[in-house]
Subunit: 359 residues, 3 copies
């Protein structure tokens, strides 16, 4: 018990791990779906944080290439697991909304908050202009690759047709290949879009051994699976009960709980005037969701027999386009200030309001 308490003391966020048993208690004692939903959502926060830290630790212990690969694939493991569970349950619209929300949350909420907090403390902050410009290009590309199948599908046939499915699968394949190429590029050149700078290395030294990191990773992953099961089952009754749309849950709420820990790191790093790293955390996470998680989910959905096409809703497409364009323009000059942070947050707030008001 004592090491656990010490652990909690070092990372107060881990107190939230208690929400996992509470969620199961709520389920078995029939406290109602809202309690199940709330506790399982809370439980995801520390578990996602542990997965993140485990991945970083493993990455820090291996060579940069394997480290980069680990981060590039496991960096959004919690979101991936929640999405897989939701696909199994056939909640495809929720999954696509959470993909959208994850990209928007990283670009607008995390980056906006980082620039706001960092800018208030340090005035004008700068980051690598060339890298920012390359990232902006990849972001624009990522949104275009999601836009094309979404819009073309309507002209090709109904969503179940083999041609629409072929477009989705083909696009997903090309996206994964491009993500692989971007990773390969990052191994060769510093400052490339996905090159790995370990947060662990910079923020603090790795505290865990490889063995410990693997055990924690495995346990936390199992925990996220357990929490996701309850979370996903409770989603529909909660939406019906509270009158909230699938959009709001998917776009605003789920990405939030899957990323809280990462968000805090990005803001903390910005407050320490390491804007380069802060921007990279937000942007590379977005790129990973768009160019890796989304297409991987297309293939995983085939396995579960609930094929998910890359067909996003018009509002999701507009939100993504708006979010990426404003990020591209904000980050292109390699400088940020608190006003730019406030600008990104403004777009996030208006989008959140819009999605909240949809019936």
């Amino acid at each position: 018990m004592k090491p656990f308490l010490l652990f909690i003391k070092r990372k107060p966020i881990l107190i939230l791990l208690l929400a996992l048993p509470l969620a199961y208690l709520a389920e078995f004692l029939h406290w109602g779906p809202i309690w199940v939903f709330a506790f399982s959502a809370l439980a995801v926060i520390p578990l996602a944080a542990l997965i993140g830290e485990g991945t970083e630790t493993l990455a820090a212990h291996t060579n940069p290439r394997i480290g980069g690969l680990l981060n590039a694939t496991l960096g959004n493991a919690a979101e991936l697991i929640i999405a897989i569970v939701a696909i199994r349950e056939g909640l495809l619209e929720l999954v696509k909304a959470s993909i959208t929300g994850s990209i928007l949350g990283n670009l607008l909420l995390v980056m906006g908050m980082s620039m706001l907090v960092g800018g208030v403390r340090h005035g004008i902050q700068s980051f690598d202009r060339r890298q920012a410009s390359r990232n902006a290009v990849l972001l624009v590309l990522a949104v275009i690759t999601l836009l094309i199948p979404s819009i073309f599908s309507g002209y090709i046939g109904n969503p179940e047709s083999i041609r629409v499915e072929a477009l989705s699968i083909g696009t997903a394949l090309v996206m994964i290949i491009l993500y692989g190429l971007a990773l390969l590029y990052s191994f060769k050149y510093e400052g490339a879009p996905l090159s790995h700078k370990s947060v662990e290395e910079i923020v603090h030294k790795p505290a865990w051994s490889v063995r410990k990191a693997i055990i924690i990773l495995a346990l936390a992953t199992a925990g996220v699976v357990l929490a996701s099961e309850l979370l996903v089952q409770a989603v529909e009754p909660v939406m019906a009960g509270l009158g909230i749309s699938e959009f709001f849950i998917g776009i605003i709420f789920i990405p939030l709980i899957g990323n809280v820990a990462e968000h805090l790191v990005a803001v903390k790093v910005a407050a320490n005037n390491q804007m380069d790293l802060s921007v990279e955390i937000a942007v590379s996470s977005s790129l990973q969701i768009a160019l890796f998680v989304a297409p991987v989910l297309v293939f995983i959905s085939l396995i579960f027999g609930n094929p998910m096409q890359l067909i996003f809703n018009p509002l999701e497409l507009i939100a993504l386009t708006a979010g990426v364009l404003i990020t591209a323009f904000v980050s292109e000059d390699g400088e940020s200030n608190w006003l730019e942070g406030a600008e990104l947050l403004t777009i996030y707030i208006i989008l959140a309001l819009g999605f909240f008001l949809i019936d």
Copy 2:
């Protein structure tokens, strides 16, 4: 009489003040709505110029912060008054068209003409790259904040529903807060988006005392109110009589008469190779319309019981997006030449033709 004549001599534009009594004469002698419309429109030109000069003079006499605040709120007073009168009459589509047109007119017509004239005289002209880039970001943001409620509304419900109204009011509130933050930012940093550089100070010294400026401001404001009354009442019969659409009047014509004086100053300044100032006049006026005048009108419309939502027509949205994107790309390199001026004017001409041809 003599001082008035001297005044006219110094500023020939003021001869147009005679159009105001002529407009009332046309109204009372029933010369027909076209004459009323024409004279009241002509009368707005010198009155708007006087309001602009009065504001500038007051700003020059006070400290930069209050000066900045005066300009940021009264800079488009003539447009604001016309819009308020039109809202009272329930001409909401006309008001939204004139908001669109005011932004487009400043970005495409004024900036295009300035770059064309300045470029023909001076070859390649340069302006502050960093400030241009920050302004571009705010412009993109402003358009996105208008796009989101316009497009989301269609998915939320019919325009009169409480949810659509909530989205409009919420967005308007966030926009005004952001405008306030941008203003605050401009007080602290040189070269910020809305920082005040007095045209008066640069072009010529303030000719009026504070007292005189306030009197002229009050009289000119009253004059604009009087002219707007006639103008707005004559709009509908004129559209019907000439077969021109509300779009053309709102997007092309009204912004033109409200900004002639400002346009002339911007072009003159560009011809004097002060491109920095010229670009700033056009851009800050656009930002003010989008982030301040538009949301303020949403609240004013509530007072008059004619609630105006931030729901713009698809064509207005496309025109705004096109105008802002081309401006962002043109201004981002901090350089201009006559070809870029011609490019902006090209877009303006094609848009004007398009709006003219709509029935």
Copy 3:
């Protein structure tokens, strides 16, 4: 016979000239439309190359201004001829698809391949940032000028109405004037969007005399006319027979055969690390298609009594917007690498897949 064989040896592509008689043989011996189509398409490749080389040679023999003018008008002569023949046959949608495809092919396929090949060989390659930025602006402008009539037309009336026709003709006129101004500008300033750098001068010396160049130009032009006749007549039976859409033929296939030679030159030049020239070939060809060929075809279509409006299909507009935006962001920093090449190709492949899957 001997000089012809020597000629073939120097330029192996010319062996494809034999496809022209084969196409006529296929037509007269009724081998079926697919053979006619395939042979006439093959024949266009060397003929387009000869027109290109003839134009370059003439340009190299005259002064830079006339050379620039020759390139700016004859640079896409093969595409222009095919389009004119197709307009005469009333295949207006095919013509508009091939305009779209020509722009996309240059920006995404040619530029992507050039950056990929050049980047693999030379790492990061750089080109003139200012010129790239000016070209990006013109590209964005070109797409906007195609977007506005396309979208406004739907609100103005049905495609045959006089108002829609007026918008098309007016827009076409303004585009040609702007193209003329851009050309004029390029005569005065180095590094301007359309300034002429002869590929001939840089890659190798002109091999032909003026007289020989004119004869070859005339013969190759006649050859393209003959090949186009067969090609265009075979298009419809081929589409029906193979179940391919007009989109795929127009957007992917026709621009490919009209540009193979030019494509090879651009890639070769990039492989020689002359990225400036390579980017310019791709971009100036796109600009020429959008701002010169497209509006000229509007006027030519009037002569044939088959008026073609500048109304593009929504998918074409999305493809153009996506292609130009990604190109603008990729080229704006004045640097390229193989990853950026792969990014452009990714968009091209996904678009090609989408157009292929449309029924």
